[in-house]
């Protein structure tokens, strides 16, 4: 059920340099949450910084009523969030947005993530596993430390995952797009889901479209309201589109068919 909740921080730790995992109890938000949706977190609680920050659902335990987020410290908001301690509260609103469309049971799915964009794919992976899909993942990580975090998480979920690192310290040496071209032809793929940097998602979309594989992308845009009221998070999905989509409400997940 969508709500604004004072979410109790159950655990919060720096899992790699500048990369944090925070688990909170937010039973109302957790109860209706679906993979690909996000929450709007208020950092600090004063008027500066003012706006909420959108963060993807990284994991959800509906029985426990808990939500886990994975975030990179990139600016003031995430820096303030990183200072919150266990047993303190954070102000959280959600779940927001249109999540991933779930495939039929038993399908073969490829998840492709870049950096912290892997976050929403983890919760998706958990739900896909629960409906007996064959799930594989390819991802790019900025460092060995980051890669270890993602690799461990995929392993916990029992998912075969291929890392790519630029220095080759774990897995494929190069970008996840290079990895995709190397591995994808050899495996059965009914559907692709991707989240990460813009250029990466574009390349993944091109690959999927040229191989007639349906897929979905999760986009980012600066947000204010998060509910479709302010029209701030506008994005033209194709250059020739007349109208702007609203990433917070029409997305953040969009079908690759809608993309250029």
């Amino acid at each position: 059920m969508p709500a604004v909740e004072k979410a109790l921080v159950a655990a919060h730790q720096e899992v790699a340099q500048g990369l944090y995992e925070i688990e909170v109890l937010a039973p109302q938000i957790a109860s209706g949450a679906r993979p690909g949706q996000f929450v709007h977190v208020r950092p600090g609680g004063t008027s500066d910084p003012l706006l909420r920050r959108p963060l993807s659902l990284y994991d959800v335990d509906q029985e426990l009523g808990s939500i886990t987020l994975l975030y990179k410290v990139v600016g003031r908001g995430t820096e303030l969030l990183s200072r919150v301690k266990s047993r303190e509260y954070i102000d959280m609103m959600g779940p927001l947005g249109r999540g991933f469309t779930l495939p039929q049971t038993g399908q073969s799915i490829l998840l492709i993530g870049g950096g912290v964009g892997i976050a929403p794919l983890i919760y998706l992976a958990r739900v896909l596993k629960a409906q007996d899909c064959t799930v594989q993942a390819a991802y790019g990580a900025a460092s060995l430390q980051d890669a270890a975090v993602y690799q461990r998480k995929f392993q916990q979920l029992g998912i075969e995952a291929w890392p790519a690192t630029m220095d080759g310290s774990l897995g494929y040496q190069g970008t996840v797009v290079g990895l995709l071209h190397q591995m994808a032809p050899a495996i059965k793929i009914d559907m692709i889901y991707t989240c990460g940097p813009e250029g990466m998602m574009k390349a993944v979309t091109d690959y999927a479209q040229s191989h007639q594989i349906p897929g979905e992308v999760s986009l980012e845009e600066t947000m204010a309201c998060g509910v479709g009221a302010c029209l701030g998070c506008a994005r033209k999905l194709k250059p020739e589109d007349a109208d702007y989509a609203k990433v917070c409400k029409d997305g953040p997940v969009f079908s690759m068919d809608l993309m250029a």
């Binding site: 509910v227 009221a229 302010c230």
Partner: protein, 314 residues
């Protein structure tokens, strides 16, 4: 509290009459920040809000500005949405019926680039039931006057208000732009045009630059500043206008809590509007109504009117 005591003491009256617009409580959702009233329905019932001022409506559809459209600034934000809206026909056929059915106190907000645009849009809205008042966004360029903003020229303000008044029997509330040298002159011009109340303030023109790319952050280069950063400016302007012009004021600009709202009322606002504050706290309208009521109770006041302009008594 004992049940009988609750009945015999109904508590202070926070309903207001804003120049003919009756509001059950003194809190309005500001135009452009609350969509068409249903976007926030999971978080707040729009029928519980004093007035919902819907997204700015123009005669024809507008697609809006290229992104980025928003950017956070110190204790505030810039927006350059570009009045994206589906046009007045879609508003009255698709959005208004639902608002009406749900019992929302709806204020239409209209914008245009010529006096005729405003007139036609107002005339279409006037024919509908379910609209309680019309707010005029006059922070728009007048294409027939070389793009000068309507709201910055007293003669244009008077003309556009008078033209709209001639087309509707609804209360007309011009929303003043703060991007002027003398707000009192503009407020007087609006009064001469026949304004029933004044809304103030709209956003302050501003910009931000990305030092990594060395480019303006907003797709439109300039945008409107809102949020707590503009509160002192809004308060000052309302204080000045309350002193000189005898019209009720819908005051807003940076309100994020009850104390802010009380300041606006004491400066001279009959009712308050909240915009950016809703993004941070969607349940703010309910909190403000309750907070204002509590303040009145604590200070032994029967009605909110007793507090309006209180800061002028010194």
């Amino acid at each position: 509290m004992h049940k009988d005591a609750a009945i015999s003491k109904p508590g202070p009256d926070i309903s207001v009459n804003l120049g003919g617009l009756w509001m059950k409580n003194p809190v309005a959702a500001a135009s452009g920040t609350f969509g068409y009233g249903f976007e926030y329905q999971d978080y707040i019932d729009s029928a519980s809000i004093g007035a919902v001022i819907v997204k700015g409506t123009t005669l024809e559809k507008r697609v809006g500005n290229p992104p980025p459209r928003i950017c956070e600034t110190a204790a505030g934000m810039l927006n350059a949405i570009g009045l994206e809206n589906p046009g007045v026909e879609v508003f009255v056929t698709e959005y208004l019926p639902r608002l009406r059915q749900h019992g929302v106190t709806v204020v239409a907000n209209i914008a245009g680039n010529t006096v005729e645009d405003y007139e036609h849009t107002a005339a279409i809205i006037d024919k509908q039931s379910g609209v309680a008042a019309i707010e005029l966004n006059i922070s728009c360029p007048n294409v027939k006057q070389g793009g000068l903003q309507f709201g910055t020229d007293p003669a244009m303000v008077e003309a556009v208000v008078a033209a709209v008044k001639a087309r509707t029997s609804l209360p007309v509330i011009p929303k003043l732009s703060p991007n002027v040298t003398d707000i009192v002159t503009i407020a007087r011009a609006a009064q001469r045009g026949g304004a029933d109340a004044l809304a103030m303030i709209n956003t302050l023109l501003g910009m931000a630059i990305d030092i990594k790319t060395r480019r303006p952050v907003l797709g439109n280069v300039f945008g409107g500043l809102s949020g707590p950063a503009i509160k002192p400016v809004a308060l000052r302007m309302i204080y000045q206008v309350y002193r000189e012009v005898d019209l009720p004021i819908l005051g807003g600009g940076g309100i994020v809590n009850t104390a802010d709202a009380l300041e606006f009322i004491m400066a001279g606002a009959t009712a308050v509007s909240i915009g950016t504050g809703l993004f941070v706290n969607p349940t703010l309208p309910a909190e403000l109504s309750l907070g204002i009521k509590q303040y009145l109770t604590e200070h032994g006041l029967d009605k909110i009117g007793d507090l309006v302009g209180a800061a002028h008594r010194f």
